[in-house]
Symmetry: C2
Subunit: 226 residues, 2 copies
């Protein structure tokens, strides 16, 4: 088996609530239990968001610490990836959990539109988050919502702002950002190979396109995200 | 001559000042004179920004009205395109000149990073600017700073939010957005042909890549921007 496929499980995003789907794990206990089930089914990375008691998303480092501890205890060897995404906080609060030294953290390196607003990742904040990840030895997963984000990640990696080799996630299917499109997917894979031959990548289809993007990713030798 | 090449002249951007280059036309009189020279040399579209007396960019409708009047008088038949770009104003002020009913106006349909900040084009503002352009019969030039912006423009056109056929400008070379890259350029052209076969397009290289992107655009049957 020359290139095993990594399954990254996003147990709890930042948006869906119990009202939307009663199966969404929201409390730390529910999240640990759900992660353990995924771990036993073969997932190797846990992509983590945390919630307040009213289910709203937060970047609270204490919540992240409790979740990280629970996953490490119940899922030995599983890679813990904490989200620094902008739905859960603003500015440097988005990186407040990095001193916990998780194995990985998500990192957006560009800006784009979301369904109702701008997903803001100003250059200065991106550089600060990247420097914190270097400081605490946290491996970034780059969230590429558009083609230029791949170029930006490669540039930051060449500049020494990101530890090599790159790990990039292609995100498709978010309204007002990049839709699920096979030619674009193929061009993403081709472009990353051209610019950073040693990079690893995974594909994430948000919503209806999830299984399709999983299939494309496995067929193209990439990793997958639930 | 089956498909003539349109030259769009950007006489004054929003950034450079007399200190940077004494030849930059800043006053309305200078801008009209400079546009006339370009018009006599063969340019057919004037892409216009206006400035305050201290050279800072503005969206002031009165300044735009004076410039439009001067160009129409001295360059009969030239297409006047006014910028609704975000460097010259914020929110709906960016579209305050649309009631002047210029032939064209620029329109960004997504967000991305600029050298030091986020270029913010929230979905609601994009839709408002597009609806004003429909209301005043202004033809938009879509400024595509990234690949998803092409998809968004095609979607807006299919929804009836933009008048067909599309006119798109591929912008390359802005730091922290899409760099000047030939494979991406070719993929832009290919993707637009696939999604909107009747669209017209032009390529703009900002800074050092300008002539290169002009050459690529002419060779690929597109239009050009100075
Ligand atoms: Zn996430
Ligand atoms: Zn992943
Ligand atoms: Zn402009
Ligand atoms: Zn143009």
């Amino acid at each position: 088996m020359s290139n095993p496929c990594i399954i990254c499980v996003a147990i709890t995003g930042s948006v869906p609530r119990k009202e939307d789907n009663p199966a969404v794990p929201v409390t730390i206990a529910e999240q640990v239990e759900s992660t353990q089930a995924a771990y036993e089914a073969g997932a190797s990375i846990a992509h983590c968001h945390v919630r307040n008691d009213d289910q709203t998303p937060t970047s609270d480092p204490d919540k992240f610490a409790a979740l990280k501890e629970g996953i490490e205890k119940h899922c030995p060897g599983m890679i813990v990836q904490l989200s620094t995404g902008g739905r859960s906080g603003a500015g440097q609060a988005r990186g407040g959990m990095l001193p916990l030294r998780p194995d990985m953290a998500s990192l957006s390196v560009g800006s784009n539109n979301f369904p109702t607003r701008v997903y803001e990742n100003p250059p200065e904040l991106v550089d600060w988050l990247a420097s914190e990840m270097l400081k605490y030895d946290v491996k970034p997963e780059i969230e590429a919502f558009d083609l230029s984000h791949i170029f930006q990640a490669v540039k930051m990696s060449a500049d020494g702002r990101l530890k090599k080799p790159l790990y990039i996630q292609f995100v498709m299917g978010v309204m007002n950002a990049m839709p699920v499109d096979k030619e674009v997917f193929d061009f993403y894979v081709h472009t990353l190979k051209r610019l950073a031959p040693d990079a690893q990548w995974c594909g994430a289809g948000v919503g209806a396109g999830q299984i399709l993007v999983n299939e494309w990713s496995i067929a193209a030798g990439g990793h997958t995200r639930t």
